[in-house]
Amino acid sequence: MSSGIHISLAAEKLFQIGNIFWVTNSLLTSWLVILFLIIFSYLTARKMSLVPGYLQSIAEITVEGIWNLFSTILQDRTKTFFSLIATYFIYIISLNWAGLLPGVGTIGLEMVEEGHKVFVPLFRSGTADLNTTLALAIIAMLIIQFSGLKTLGLNYLKKFINLSSPIMFFVGILELVSEFSKVISFSFRLFGNIFAGEVLLTVIAFLMPVFAPLPFLGLELFVGFIQALVFSMLTAVFLSLATVKSEH
């Protein structure tokens, strides 16, 4: 009988591959979500017809909705960046919502750790692990810098190292610092929202399991959607800012 609530800030380790690679429960859930997305896309794209069937309609609605949303932000560069932004959106929203499925956080194993038994859940939302969100944020920032360099050439660095006047030099340094702070803010925003949602659901289910979790599950659905939207929209906004061609 587990005593009290089990909440852990870091993702719990499950088993080891080889000698150094630990598989955590959030990694396991991420793999399952990726597998689900791959199977879904394979089944949808296998026979594409002009009059879409059931699966294909769902995929078309999703892709068209995301395209319309992001074409207002990146007007003529939508095609270049669409695969990245749409992947972020679909991946993050699937990971967020996978944390709400029944069984995530409750099905687990009893492991012996440091002499006493500890309950380790088998599944945990992928984005409730700071490693995942940090990785996504770093990739987004690297792609933004790379796209800026590719579109503007080395003039892109003039944004950060601006030698025209002392004030502009300071502004350049601030821009450099703000690039790093964007990584922190992206990762912590996503991690904090989803992890806090998991803690909230655990506590509410512990206090009153029967009817009280319902509105909180609805809130978590909404929050998962909004966080995926905000992550991909902010990436799109920063991409469009970095690749704006100066008109002279």
Partner: protein, 75 residues
Amino acid sequence: MPVEGLKEIATALAIGLGALGPGIGIGLIGLGALEAIGRNPEAEGKIRTNMILVVAFAEAVAIYALVIALIIKFT
């Protein structure tokens, strides 16, 4: 100054004070957005999209405070 129970006080203070600023900020953002929609109902879609974006920025600050509170409590 009692030593035990300091951790709980720290947790509560972290998230309590940290939610003051973003709460006011999000209210102000909503105020601006609603006034703008009232003045120009045609641009409702654009205003709504930008409002959600800025609210996410403001809420992120509250989330930073929440993460610090959780770290204090669970480690």
